[in-house]
């Protein structure tokens, strides 16, 4: 909503500066986002009078004009065709002037004539959009002396507030509503509004009526009283369609509205004053001289003012004349009855339409108009007679003519008044401060609420322009708002502890994230939606939740895995020469849940490594499985006590997105909590990655459950006796895992082995094909005695034999 500072000042009689007024409005909840100054930068642009004009001696279309600015005469060459006769008033930009558009006025020779200055068009000095001719003024537009700066002469100086109006305040979609708010907060005498009533309005409480429209009878009938509870009309005869006076055009200009003609401008001015859209029809084009308000019939069409032919539906409300639709109620008028230069007689419509009905139609037709914007939010049904008077008054003062002395106001539906009870104690409870009842009453009265004192507070009638006030608490807000939120004390409460506290699951996720970032992984945050192709390329579940109205096919289903998002981040890194990426993400995946209202959502942890492993100075090859496994072990470090270094990954999972021979289950305390492995080569190419990225995904809930199931590690006394270490290198077949050998070693001794660690894997010379050599450090220790060499040798020999026998391993020396 744009609002003029000058207009508000006129209505309130306030002497606040523009900035002060903006601050007051913001403090009332009518947030002023921006203040734009108008009428500035017009030094040396003055009112002047035409002394003489003559055609240019050599150039067609140019006129040589002599103008007088009260002190000096200036010869100006002008290209406009509307230079007035001598005595006419124009706007002169003198030599030295610098116009808002950046144009600097200097002496200029044009076909041998020296032009000293410029006669200005509206757009050239930023007072309108007209560029068809220069500004021609009359003494009705200004009484200022010649030579008066144009800003003063035409009262151009104004500030326009851009107010971010919340949808609950339709009453503030007009200057009167804003002025009412300002008056309440400034405790001033109220809004100064002038309403001349030059005709009478007959209000009838039934569905239809007729009135004498100046010789002919005009009928109004409401067939859809729920959609249109009230419809009033008046007739103005004998108008002359012209441009509006400068002041009207300028006021509309600062409010961002293009002036059209003196009738349309009058209705627009009323919109900005009362917040109430009305519509002016060319009376002589209203066929049958009557209006019917009804729902549209399927198949009906109407060409609206913007020239678009609209198909109507049974849910739309239309204004019809004797033959068919002439306007879409509350949205836009039709072309057939539009005001034109030939219009002599005008029918003014002022009606109240159901906000929801207007909204549905406007949305369906994709038409967001000034009218629909206001009707959707709810105009003031009680204001209908006043607005009708005002629009008729503006039209006659703008365009001449007279209003027919009788007008008709058909009230077919119910107009209810909201009555509320306000308890003083409740105000104090909600606001946390005592507000004197006297002040409460004053505030409500200033806003137009009628109050009757009761034992507890007030009985309150809500004015018809406040559809948003429906409950006691709404009145409390009015009081808080007008007093100012800064009047409410600031008090930190003692928050009572809840029985539950923050769930372990939430604290766990945080620790997981912190561990993952400390392990050297960067956290990614991806959108929850992906494309079906992303899912199929990643070879993860495509049984995904679909969005009915996605922004694009790229983001049309909810992710079933974190892989597509992380893969796209890796792809981005590789494409942009980042060389590598080590990423993780903790987020929801979505699983369809047939029969249930909502899908299942699981929190997952995804880890993706790809590209060159960063090394200390120089290159160290590509990330491989063991980098990912190491990262995983670091992430889980604080929970995986007691899980041997080799115990984290076991067995091969059956998941389509991983390399079938280079993947593993992630196992913690006996539970499988996820999978890890190189991406399947087909996935790598489908997702346009390169190399061998490694991906791990874990179900965070299952991970936490496994950890909670696992025992808490207990501290043991440190050993008193020394250990002895022996190495063992064995050659085994490729498919025997190091952990299998280590387990065999451990099981082969009678409690003397403390630790087994693989320290070398070797393939190549002297090792048969499909075999590998594994070397282990075996730490022997007797917790009760110092081991003798003999005892260790014996145990080691036993271990060696068992490994050879059980794993068909041969020793390697």
């Amino acid at each position: 909503m744009l609002a003029s500072y000058n207009w508000l000042r006129e209505l309130t009689g306030s002497d606040l500066s523009a900035d002060e007024m903006a601050e007051k409005l913001t403090g009332l909840g009518l947030a002023v986002d921006a203040v734009t100054a108008f009428g500035t930068g017009l030094e040396n642009v003055v009112i002047a009078e035409v002394r003489s004009k003559a055609p240019h001696p050599s150039k067609d279309k140019l006129t040589v004009v002599e103008v007088f600015d009260g002190t000096d005469a200036h010869t100006v060459v002008c290209g406009a065709s509307n230079v007035p006769e001598p005595g006419g008033l124009v706007v002169l930009a003198r030599v030295g002037a610098s116009l808002p558009g950046g144009l600097a006025i200097a002496e200029r020779a044009l076909g041998g004539v020296t032009s000293r200055g410029m006669l200005c068009a509206e757009d050239e000095i930023g007072v309108g959009s007209d560029h068809d001719g220069i500004i021609v003024l009359t003494r009705e537009d200004t009484t200022a002396k010649l030579g008066t700066p144009v800003a003063t002469a035409l009262s151009l100086s104004d500030s326009v507030f851009d107010i971010a109006l919340t949808p609950n305040r339709p009453d503030c979609l007009g200057h009167l509503g804003l002025a009412r708010e300002l008056s309440a907060v400034m405790k001033s005498t109220g809004v100064r509004t002038t309403l001349t009533e030059s005709f009478s309005i007959a209000t009838v409480q039934r569905a239809s009526g007729e009135f004498d429209a100046g010789g002919a009878t005009f009928g109004i009938a409401i067939e859809s009283s729920e959609r249109c509870p009230r419809y009033a009309g008046a007739v103005v005869r004998g108008v002359t369609i012209e441009r509006s006076p400068f002041a009207v055009r300028y006021r509309l200009h600062v409010l961002g509205v293009r002036a059209i003609n003196n009738i349309v401008d009058a209705t627009n001015l009323a919109v900005f004053e009362w917040g109430y859209p009305t519509h002016a029809f060319d009376l002589d084009k209203v066929r049958g001289q009557h209006i019917v308000v009804r729902v549209a019939r399927e198949g009906e069409t109407l060409t609206t003012l913007d020239g678009v032919r609209r198909s109507l539906q049974g849910d739309d409300v239309v204004i019809c004349d004797g033959e068919g639709p002439v306007a879409i109620a509350g949205v836009m008028g039709g072309q057939s009855s539009e005001i034109t230069g030939a219009t002599r007689n005008v029918f003014i419509e002022c009606a109240y339409f159901d906000p929801r009905s207007v909204r549905r139609t406007a949305r369906r037709l994709g038409m967001h108009t000034d009218a629909s914007h206001r009707f959707e939010r709810g105009v003031d049904p009680g204001a209908v007679p006043s607005v009708l008077h005002r629009v008729a008054g503006l039209i006659t003062s703008n365009a001449g003519g007279t209003t027919v002395k009788e007008a008709l106001d058909v009230v077919a539906g119910k107009l209810t008044e909201t009555k509320l009870t306000l308890r003083s104690s409740r105000i104090d409870t909600v606001l946390g401060t005592k507000v004197p009842l006297k002040e409460v009453g004053e505030i409500l009265n200033a806003l137009g609420f009628k109050t009757t004192p009761t034992v507890e507070g007030f009985n309150v009638s809500v004015p018809s322009w406040r559809p948003d006030v429906l409950r006691e608490v709404d009145l409390i807000e009015e009081v808080a708002r007008v007093r100012g939120y800064d009047k409410i004390p600031t008090e930190v409460p003692h928050v009572r502890a809840s029985a539950t506290g923050t769930a372990n699951s939430i604290r766990f996720v945080r620790r997981l994230r912190e561990q993952a970032s400390a392990a050297g992984l960067f956290e990614a945050v991806n959108y929850g939606f992906v494309s079906m192709t992303d899912l199929s390329n990643a070879r993860v579940s495509t049984d995904a939740v679909r969005i009915t109205n996605p922004l694009s096919e790229d983001r049309s289903v909810m992710r079933t895995s974190l892989l597509p998002g992380l893969a796209s981040a890796l792809r981005r890194a590789l494409r942009h020469q980042a060389g590598h990426a080590a990423l993780f993400e903790v987020a929801h995946v979505f699983v369809r849940n047939a029969g249930a209202a909502l899908p299942d959502e699981h929190v997952m942890l995804g880890i993706l490594l790809g590209g060159a492993r960063p090394a200390w100075l120089g290159q160290a090859g590509e990330y491989d499985f063991f980098d990912a496994k190491g990262a995983l072990a670091s992430v889980l470090a604080q929970w995986r006590h007691g899980v041997g270094r080799d115990g984290l990954t076991q067995g091969a999972p059956i998941v389509a997105h991983l390399h079938p021979k280079r993947c593993a289950n992630i196992v913690l305390f006996g539970s499988v909590v996820g999978t890890i492995g190189e991406l399947h080569p087909d996935v790598v190419s489908a997702m346009e990655l390169v190399g061998r990225p490694i991906y791990a995904e874990m179900h965070v809930g299952e991970l936490r459950a496994a950890i909670e199931k696992g025992d808490i590690a207990k501290a043991r006394a440190l050993p008193k006796f020394p250990s002895a270490t022996r190495d063992l290198a064995v050659v085994v077949q490729e498919d025997i895992m190091a952990s299998q050998v280590a387990d065999t070693i451990r099981n082969a001794s009678d409690g003397l082995i403390e630790d087994v660690q693989v320290f070398d894997v070797y393939r190549g010379e002297n090792i048969p094909q499909h075999h590998k050599s594994l070397a282990f450090h075996i730490v022997y220790r007797d917790s009760n005695a110092t081991l003798t060499d003999e005892k260790v040798d014996r145990a080691h020999k036993h271990v060696t034999e068992r490994v050879s026998a059980q794993l068909s391993a041969s020793l390697r020396s």
Binding site: T26, G27, G29, A31, A34, P167, R360, T429, V430, L431, G432, T433, V473, I476, E477, A480, Y485, D486, I488, T490, E491, V492, H494, V495, R496, T500, G501, T502, A503, R513, E514, S517, A519, G520, L521, F522, E523, V525, Y527, G528, F529, R546, I547, T548, N549, S568, A569, R572, A573, A581, A582, F584, H588, F590, A597, L598, E601, P614, W616, L617
Partner: protein
């Protein structure tokens, strides 16, 4: 024979005695020192060779010569130790006064990971509220229409309920069963109040979705919802908690301004502006005011809008089965992305969701 032996022995000793000190002292490094020492006193050294001759010496002289030889051996050993120390000291002195280690080479095994800026900011915010006594809760990103709108008091045809603005999952289902990607974390108000009775103090961070996509709007972004419900909770408490939050988050001196605004599920509703942390115009000095005048983030206003808030609308209490006359409460919501953008100077919201490793490793 034995006289010769005695003579040879004595000459040998004299030779060692005469030269060992100068030989050892001449060594400049440990390696040569050890080599020289080995030549004298090592297993095959001169002195060791002499000592091996001892049994051949006549018995009457053996004792005297033996003592002499052992004394010499001790002297060699002492000289060796002294020179060893001297060399070590020289090495240490040389290093202490020598060129500096190139400490600018990178550290080994650097772990350069990080939390996403949104996560970092979210945890920081949560820490403030948990220290004030709030619990953290979470919930689904896909929720029922009624939790997202109806129970919060949105009228049935509120613009937000439109297909234009929200992502629906099964728009064709009946109103009750309709689900959508939550448009705000306010769903958590409904969910938590339906789950438990007052007193209730929660904050709920999480993803929310709206059908916008441009420089300042991302179709997915992060919000944090807060809710406190108990007997006697007032707007003054709302101001207290949010002022405390703003000051812990943005600095003790940051000004906090409450002004009326509108959200369907609160009444009275408000918006919280805090002093712009980019220009810090609120410091009031000439320099600060000059910064404010130039500040594009707050558009020279000196304030930034960071929170929506208000007293829980009684209709919400009624919809979740709370006694709206007995209990009062306040709710608030803030955009985590926005705070992250302010904090890290991020001008395009989409950077937050591109996961460019170059971006992630910047901040």
């Amino acid at each position: 024979m034995s006289d010769d032996a005695v003579k040879e022995f004595e000459e040998g000793l004299a030779k060692v005695e005469a030269s060992f000190r100068s030989q050892l002292d001449a060594c400049g490094d440990e390696q040569s020192l050890r080599a020289v020492n080995a030549r004298i006193a090592g297993p095959t050294g001169e002195l060791t060779g002499l000592l091996k001759l001892m049994p051949k010496l006549p018995g009457d002289q053996r004792k005297v010569l033996g003592q002499k030889a052992n004394a010499l051996k001790s002297a060699v050993s002492a000289a060796f130790d002294t020179q060893l120390l001297a060399i070590a000291k020289a090495v240490r002195d040389a290093e202490l006064s020598g060129p500096h280690l190139d400490v600018t080479l990178p550290g080994r095994n650097e772990r350069t990971g990080s939390l996403h800026p949104i996560t970092r900011v979210a945890y920081e915010i949560m820490d403030v509220f948990t220290s004030l006594g709030f619990d953290i809760v979470d919930g689904p990103e896909i929720d029922l229409h009624e939790n997202n709108f109806d129970k919060l008091g949105f009228p049935p045809d509120h613009p937000a309920t439109d297909m234009q603005d929200s992502f629906f999952i099964n728009a064709e289902a009946g109103q009750k069963q309709r689900s959508l990607l939550r448009t705000h974390t306010s769903t958590m108000q409904v969910r938590e109040m339906q789950k438990r009775k007052p007193p209730l103090a929660i904050v709920a961070p999480g993803q929310v979705y709206r059908r916008d996509d441009d420089v300042t709007h991302s179709p997915m972004f992060f919000q944090l919802e807060g809710l406190l419900v108990d007997e006697g909770v007032s707007f003054a408490h709302l101001k207290g908690v949010l002022t405390r939050f703003a000051q812990r988050m943005f600095g003790d001196n940051v000004p906090v301004r409450f002004r009326p605004s509108y959200f369907p599920f609160v009444e009275p509703g408000g918006e919280v502006d805090i002093g712009c942390m980019i220009c810090r115009g609120y410091e009031g000095t000439k320099e600060a005011l000059a910064r404010q005048a130039e500040c594009r983030v707050c558009k020279a206003s000196g304030y930034l809008e960071v929170l929506g808030c208000g007293m829980v609308h009684p209709v919400v209490f009624e919809n979740v089965g709370y006694d709206s006359d007995k209990y009062t409460g306040f709710a608030f919501g803030l955009g985590i992305d926005r705070i992250a953008m302010l904090r890290y100077g991020i001008s395009d919201i989409r950077w937050l969701y591109e996961n460019d490793v170059r971006f992630l490793s910047q901040i």
